[in-house]
């Protein structure tokens, strides 16, 4: 039992190449393989010079995001059966500079993540001895799905706004800001507002929903961003009447 697949892989070594080129590999895959297994096979047995990121092989570390047949996906979650007997393109995630082969430069995202202050902000901290901040299952559900983001950046690769205007803070970072805004233990909405309400914050989003479509963890960042738009507008009015901190 085996699946034949042809991988047309983008190669780029800045020390040798002026621009990216493509190299094709024919792989005989086992039925249950993911595209990542096929790529690992190429690296182990056909071409050790191929560079890419991967680790967990269970769609939780977010390392192996890449463009597979034109769509941003986790290579460890893309069954080769879906591409049987076809030639598909394997390229680094769109909208990021290419460092080498399938490895993109993620500095922009790391910086934007920091800017939205994705951590609990409180006016007053409760001492550890006093126990946990009570949070009912219903309160947890309010933000739970937005905690599932593995930072794989597939949403950035899918987002046309990010493609066109690289200042856009982007789906994952903004969704994480909303995750904290919606967490009953957090009181940092006003502080995050400054960054989120910028034009390149949530307002650059035109709700194409392509981010949620691409998200391998069903986080639905588009939903977070639209909720953020409402919250940001509300906050703007509150600040207008001097009630920004309430």
């Amino acid at each position: 039992m085996s699946v034949q697949i042809e991988l047309e892989v983008l190669r780029y070594d800045p020390e040798k190449d002026q621009e990216p080129r493509y190299q094709t590999y024919s792989v005989s895959c086992q039925d249950e393989w993911m595209v990542l297994d096929a790529i690992n096979h190429v690296k182990d047995h056909m071409d050790t010079t191929l560079s890419y990121r991967w680790s967990c092989h269970m769609a939780v570390c977010g390392s192996c995001g890449m463009m597979i047949d034109g769509k941003p996906k986790l290579a460890c979650k893309a069954p080769v059966q879906d591409y049987a007997n076809r030639k598909i393109r394997i390229e680094p995630l769109a909208n990021f500079p290419i460092e080498r082969d399938l490895v993109v430069n993620q500095d922009d995202f790391m910086e934007k993540l920091r800017r939205v202050k994705p951590y609990v902000i409180r006016k007053e901290e409760k001492p550890i001895e006093e126990g946990e901040y009570k949070q009912t299952p219903a309160q947890l559900m309010k933000f739970k799905q937005f905690t599932l983001c593995i930072n794989c950046l597939c949403c950035y690769a899918a987002c046309p706004e990010y493609a066109l205007s690289s200042e856009f803070i982007g789906p994952a970072a903004l969704a994480l800001a909303h995750r904290y805004n919606a967490d009953s233990r957090d009181q940092g909405l006003a502080e995050r507002h400054k960054e989120i309400s910028k034009p390149e914050g949530v307002w650059d989003c035109s709700f194409t929903d392509t981010c949620s479509d691409a998200c391998p963890k069903h986080v639905d960042p588009a939903s977070a961003l639209q909720q953020l738009k409402i919250a940001t507008t509300t906050q703007w009015y509150k600040e207008l009447i001097g009630m920004g901190d309430k």
Partner: protein, 586 residues
């Protein structure tokens, strides 16, 4: 070579590294922390841990019970001062995580919930659905972003420690995107680089778990401890080795052989408990070593279910119901469907024991200190020893937090008191040796060996000789094979000559680390002529407290196999007893 001067260098940015960094930054914002990792922090393997983190908070529980469960679970090879400190601090650390925003699963009244876990008498495992490690990692990473004193060096591959004047003074690391070497000079270095389960053929571990920090310390003369104790997690998916959390059994999942029989009762873990009503420390909630060993015996008897990828047994969760599984085990369901084509709601999932964790690691004490001044280690990379001969599930995530904090406080005190001058010339010389080593590796031609080939040889020999059950002959053969493989390593040529993100080079370096540590596993196992916890010898089936109630130390001997020595176990309150996981256990 670039030179970075920092106060404290932390290698590894997973749960341990991040907790350590936060502890330093929170208490001493004036100290510079260099957090060096070969991957972005979110990629660290902490993210794959599923089940939860143990800490006593419920009124029916006690620190003493947690202590006894851990010491007994570790087959009395745990250092009891370490365990005592650990169980004491555990609840505080988990509560701190809650304050930092960790989305722990809750009781209806809003308080934190706990679930049953293997080898624990009372349920005390805090959990965040079945993605506890993931949530802990992201909570720590996101929390760390608010501290400007933490300078992160993401995708810097650490190569070797810098030591002089009898102490550790820093580390040499390569910026992966440029190939440039950086000399980090620090007053203290804390290693948080995780375990090395990738030396085995099938493991639950990701590609990055190659023991880099452990190997660096080992090469620098620090001994490893108890490396022969390798934990097999009882329930991994075949072919991929992907983990299905112990939480499956905590929620009531059961193990059945080819006849549908719950075979664990034949191995001292009975009597059979009612379906869906697991009893702690019994049957499927026995400790991991016993469960994995039971599989091996069933395999010998021919009771396992053959699959194209090897023998299996069934993890049956069909009686739990869709709603319960979706709430408590959503990731497990997704993983089963995606990677084995089986929906646990409808059918039992074929699983087998898979290498998961290394109890062994760098020799440390209760203060996370290694024998080398200025060098500390935390987490799976270290062996304190909290876990002894067999780790209880959900203790390791808490271990990262408790000892991350402790290492931080000790390293801060050491760094502040460190007034000696930096041995600039000695460090420069060492750094240049590392550079020469890389140049040599990159410059090789006419290679006769491949990385994949030598890696395969290593994983094959460990599988056949140092698996769940070991004998003198199989271990001797493995030791010999590993010696051979180390020699053959010189024949590896790197076809990738680029300086930019050269994964050919990184894989070669990781392989070298794995080979070194594999020798400590095999030699340690050969020398330990007894069975204890996860180290089982068919030729020495009993536990031998008289001769082997001690830790195995392995010392680097260059091209030769490591030399083996021993170190006492710290025993305070609990004298070695019988590990009783039958239904009547107290």
């Amino acid at each position: 070579m670039e030179l970075i001067k920092t106060d404290i260098a932390i290698v590894g940015a997973g749960g341990a590294g991040l907790r350590t960094a936060i502890a330093i930054a929170e208490s001493n914002p004036d100290l510079k922390v260099a957090l060096i990792s070969k991957v972005y922090p979110m990629r660290s393997h902490t993210c794959a841990a599923e089940g939860g983190a143990a800490g006593v908070i419920k009124p029916d529980d006690s620190l003493e019970l947690h202590f006894n469960d851990t010491v007994g679970g570790g087959d009395w090879l745990t250092d009891q001062d370490v365990v005592e400190y650990f169980v004491n601090e555990a609840p505080k650390e988990l509560m701190q995580l809650e304050h930092w925003g960790c989305p722990w699963s809750r009781m209806p009244d809003g308080s934190v919930n706990v679930r049953p876990f293997g080898g624990m008498k009372i349920k005390r495992t805090w959990f965040a659905a079945d993605k506890s490690g993931f949530h802990i990692l992201h909570t720590l990473f996101q929390t760390s972003l608010q501290f400007p004193s933490i300078e992160r060096y993401d995708e810097f591959y650490s190569l070797d420690l810098l030591t002089a004047d009898g102490r550790c003074q820093g580390v040499v690391a390569m910026e992966m995107k440029s190939g440039r070497l950086f000399q980090f000079q620090a007053k203290a270095v804390i290693l948080c680089t995780g375990g090395a389960s990738r030396m085995f053929k099938f493991s639950t571990n990701g590609a990055i778990k190659t023991g880099d920090g452990t190997a660096m310390a080992y090469r620098a003369g620090v001994p490893t401890k108890d490396m022969e104790f390798v934990q097999y997690h009882p329930t991994g998916l075949l072919s991929t080795g992907i983990l299905l959390t112990e939480g499956c059994r905590g929620e009531g999942g059961v193990l059945r052989n080819k006849d549908g029989y719950r075979y664990l009762q034949d191995y001292g873990m009975g009597p059979e408990t009612p379906l869906g009503q697991p009893v702690l420390k019994t049957m499927e909630l026995g400790p991991r070593d016993r469960l994995s060993q039971a599989f091996w015996h069933e395999q010998q008897k021919g009771n396992t279910i053959p699959t194209p990828w090897g023998d299996s047994v069934h993890l049956d969760m069909t009686h739990l119901g869709e709603k319960h599984i979706n709430e408590r085990l959503p990731l497990v369901r997704e993983l089963s469907i995606l990677y084995s084509g089986v929906d646990p709601v409808k059918e039992p999932v074929p699983i087998c024991p898979v290498v998961h964790y290394m109890m062994g690691g760098i020799h440390t004490n209760i203060d996370a200190e290694t024998p080398m001044p200025g060098l500390y280690a935390v987490g799976e990379t270290a062996c304190a020893s909290l876990n002894g001969a067999n780790r209880l599930g959900s203790n390791s995530l808490t271990e990262l937090l408790v000892f991350g904090k402790r290492a931080a406080m000790n390293a801060v005190e050491y760094a502040k008191g460190q007034t000696s001058t930096v041995s600039e010339s000695a460090l420069k010389e060492q750094a240049e040796k590392v550079q020469a080593k890389i140049r040599e590796l990159m410059g090789r031609s006419n290679g006769t060996e491949s990385i994949a080939g030598i890696r395969r040889g290593m994983t094959d020999t460990l599988e056949s000789g140092a698996g769940i059950y070991r004998t003198e002959d199989t271990l001797k053969e493995t030791c010999a094979t590993l010696g051979e493989l180390r020699k053959r390593y010189a024949g590896i040529e790197l076809h990738d000559k680029s300086n930019v993100f050269n994964t050919d080079l990184f894989q070669a370096l990781e392989l070298e680390n794995l080979l070194l540590l594999a020798q400590t596993v095999a030699e340690g196992a050969l020398a330990r002529k007894e069975s204890r916890g996860s180290h089982q010898r068919l030729d020495y089936e009993a536990r031998d407290d008289e001769n082997f109630l001690k830790h195995t130390l392995a010392y680097y001997q260059g091209e030769d196999a490591p030399s083996i020595d021993y170190h006492d176990v710290i025993i305070t309150k609990s004298q070695p007893g019988v590990r009783d996981y039958s239904g009547g256990a107290k």
